[in-house]
Amino acid sequence: MFSFVSRRLAVALPTLLVVIAGSFFLMRAAPGGPFDADAQLEPEVIENLRAAYDLDKPVTEQFMLYMARLLRGDFGPSITYADYTVTELLAIGLPVSVKLGLTAIVVALLFGCLMGIISALNRNRWIDYVTMSIAMTGFAVPAFVVAPVLTLVFGLYLKLLPISGWNDGALQNMVLPVIALALPQIAILSRLTRGSMLEVMRQNYIRTARAKGLPEYKVVAGHALKAVSLPLVSYLGPAIAGIMTGSVIIEQIFGLPGMGRYFIQGALNRDYPLVMGTVIVYATAIILLNLLADVIYGYLDPRVRRE
């Protein structure tokens, strides 16, 4: 197990380096800079500002400076939020996004698996058709359509839930964003679970379990579930990436002070350090969570460990 994890880590680190270098040089390659909008500034002032952010140096030197700072855990100062360092902004945004994303993934796993198992066990009965229609709808109606409709129905018509704001992660503020964020993943997870469940229930060991007289719930919980969970674990990586990209748009719609908002704001304002900071955090999270999914997979299926 140890060598399996360390082999995966050996791929993860270069990947992260590729992300950092890629986004760094991509942004620097573009024409224009963060101070273009400030047309009223004197040229000398702009020169000084550029010097203060090391932007007057050659790009490779900037990159070396940035990497040196990064290794000390310093993301540098933000350009648009002039009084903040990027680390401080991330400290504000990250907890919001983590709480939102984690809740959404837990909700998605719970509902997705449940719906999938129920509809597989009731194949071709009405409950199967109902859950699979819900899944198909969640698949085809994107989150940025669902979210405004939810605010319209539950916020403006029924007046049950607030339509925007974070309010320190209060439950009523979380409900709508979590539903909108989880729905597409519930759709995919329930279809995956259903397919996997149908496959597993045809296996010989399930027939054996039934033949020795186990009640159906024990067959499902004790024998089928572990095998069913394999494709779900391998989908965890894409699911997490989906939740993260979805979170950018959901934070925008519900006005939540998360990472996504800083990322979009940073990108629009050419705030190089802020964009780099958010991208690095997103990439690290995706890579680490993928690693975790791999490890869980290796734990569940020993064949994977020695490839």
């Binding site: 791929v11 993860a12 270069p14 990947t15 590729v18 992300v19 890629g22 986004s23 991509l26 942004m27 390659a29 573009a30 198909m136 709808t137 698949f139 085809a140 109606v141 994107p142 940025f144 359509v145 979210a147 405004p148 409709v149 605010t151 319209l152 403006l156 990586g237 990436a241 993260m244 990209t245 950018v248 748009i249 925008q252 719609i253 990322f263 979009i264 990108a267 629009l268 050419r270 964009v275 991208v279 997103y282 990439a283 995706i286 890579i287 993928n290």
Partner: protein, 303 residues
Amino acid sequence: MGFLTQRRDRQLAAMQAAGRTVGRSLWQDATRRFLSNKVAVGSVIVLLLISVMAVFAPLLSPHTMEDFYWEYILVPPTLENGHWFGTDSNGRDMFVRTFYGARVSLTIGVMTTAVALVIGVTWGSVAGFFGGKIDNFMMRIVDVLYALPLLFFIIILVTVFGRNIYLVFIGIGAVEWLTMSRIVRGQTLSVKQKEYVEAARAIGLSNLVIVRRHVVPNIVGPVIVFVTLLIPTTILVESYLSFLGLGVQEPMTSWGTLISQGAANIDTGPWLLLIPGTFLAITLFCFNFIGDGLRDALDPEGR
């Protein structure tokens, strides 16, 4: 010598003719299976209708896309004045705008998928055909790219290089080719090891002929299926970008742009969101049904 080559040519021609009839009947078989799938055929018809409307709807309406009707601001759908889908907060006709949006969204879907198709098929077939170290190296790159948050790259790309519609094409296409390359590589590798390819080698057919006669027809099926499933994905990515204000810009419009404007006016004009949102959802539904239908038709064993 001349006699020999002539004879071989004739044999080849006969073989190819025989092979072609077999190939054709396979396709006929797939066509028959697809046509018997009512949901898939219905989806094709609905998509054709939306495409036809995307081309001709602006001719049917008395209004144009950019006309401002200050006396008809935020009018709900009505038969009066020909504002069948209502008007937006600038008094512009939503019927015409929705189908203009369809034009842009569908075009982007097809064009970006074409970009992804070209990159993915080239990359995957080269890796699969040469195998060994080249394959290993090329697929390692795909693995690394897979682990990256690529949508964030597109966002950086469009914000940094300006919101150019062609950049959106290339950006999305350049990101979405990864799965395509894996499918093509896997298929190429497995076809390469088949006995009929060995047999073709043994009778002295050139690489080019083998690729054309055996490799390509075997790849085409999965690629077609994946393309029909990739088009809705790229349409969705485009709407995602446009919703954030990073994709298609005024005065042009796409479904994502319209949905974004609808979301901003959700309390005063819900139809501004619901109409383009419904068209987007129907389109995504249809592509998915067609993709499923094609998969069943082309690969009956896979069911």
